[in-house]
């Protein structure tokens, strides 16, 4: 390995005329790839309140409360300030009601703004859903 003084200079010189690699971020955004794990969102029409997501969330970011048992009214709170965006809720969801979207600019001035509440009536179970749900008890 010979030592060469100024080995780096040609490379530096080449880069003066190159386009900078930096992205001028707030004005210019990179594309988010397919399958990015962003903000978790609930499709209330599909949720069957099996509570699998609440059970498996490692950050305890999902909270399901019963508002009225007779009317099957429930409230789900997604604490996005605790969420670690692992996507386990979407994986474990038997009806694909939970999904992660492409949103990545999540900063908010207050943590209260990051708690999303969904109040909804539980949907009637379809037969196919029930099968998935029962299997879910045994497997991950």
């Amino acid at each position: 390995m010979g030592k060469k003084l100024g080995f780096f200079i040609p490379e530096l010189w080449r880069h003066i005329f190159k386009k900078p690699a930096t992205v001028d971020y707030p004005f210019e955004k990179l594309k988010v790839p397919k399958g990015f794990r962003g903000l978790p969102v609930l499709n209330t029409e599909l949720c069957i309140v099996c509570k699998a997501c609440e059970r498996d969330c490692p950050a305890e970011a999902i909270e399901i409360r019963t508002i009225l048992e007779e009317e099957k009214k429930f409230q789900m709170t997604i604490h996005n300030d605790r969420c670690v965006h692992c996507g386990q809720c979407a994986d474990v969801c038997p009806t694909n009601a939970m999904t992660l979207n492409n949103e990545f600019e999540l900063s908010e001035p207050s943590r209260w703004n990051m708690k999303f509440r969904y109040a909804y009536t539980r949907q009637l179970r379809k037969k196919s859903d029930r099968n998935v749900d029962e299997k879910d008890k045994e497997i991950l």
Binding site: S110, R111, W112
Partner: protein, 157 residues
């Protein structure tokens, strides 16, 4: 195959020191020794069988006893030397004279389980803060912690 011959060699060298031995899966060997035999065992392991690399020391709270596991590794197998000390008198001899690299793990053991390591060259706490109250050993099963209520700066809803 290698493990079998290794176990037989270990039994040859350590003889009556091994209380029990197991080979649950490929390349994994567990042997159990009495706490008073531990430094000698490790000395023999290092000199005779080439287990020089101590991976880590694990403590497990088993209620009445504390289990201490010394994980050694070489190219053939991962050898775990297991020993148990009573919870009433948790004391173990240091192995830093044989393996100097064990010092941090032994200090960690002292911090987390309150197992006193005898003749340890540097007994200061390693990871617990300086003002940590005495007698609190976080990884013991009876050490419970109350997670404080979540307070969000800014207050209100």
């Amino acid at each position: 195959m290698m493990e079998k011959s290794l176990i037989s060699r270990l039994k040859e060298f350590l003889a009556e020191k091994i209380v029990e031995s197991a080979n649950p899966s490929k390349r994994r060997i567990f042997i159990k020794v009495l706490p008073e035999n531990l430094p000698d065992t490790i000395q023999i392991l290092k000199e005779k069988t080439g287990f020089t690399h101590l991976s880590t020391i694990t403590g497990v709270d088993k209620g009445e006893t504390f289990e201490i596991l010394y994980h050694f590794a070489n190219k053939i197998a991962v050898l775990t030397v297991r020993t148990e000390v009573p919870a009433g008198k948790p004391e173990i001899k240091t192995i830093t004279k044989i393996i100097p690299g064990a010092i941090l793990y032994e200090r960690e053991l002292q911090d987390m389980f309150g197992i006193k390591v005898m003749e340890i060259p540097d007994p200061r706490p390693l990871i617990l803060p300086d003002g940590w109250p005495e007698g609190n050993y976080p990884l013991r099963k009876n050490w419970k912690y109350q997670r404080p209520e979540e307070i969000i700066p800014g207050g209100g809803k």
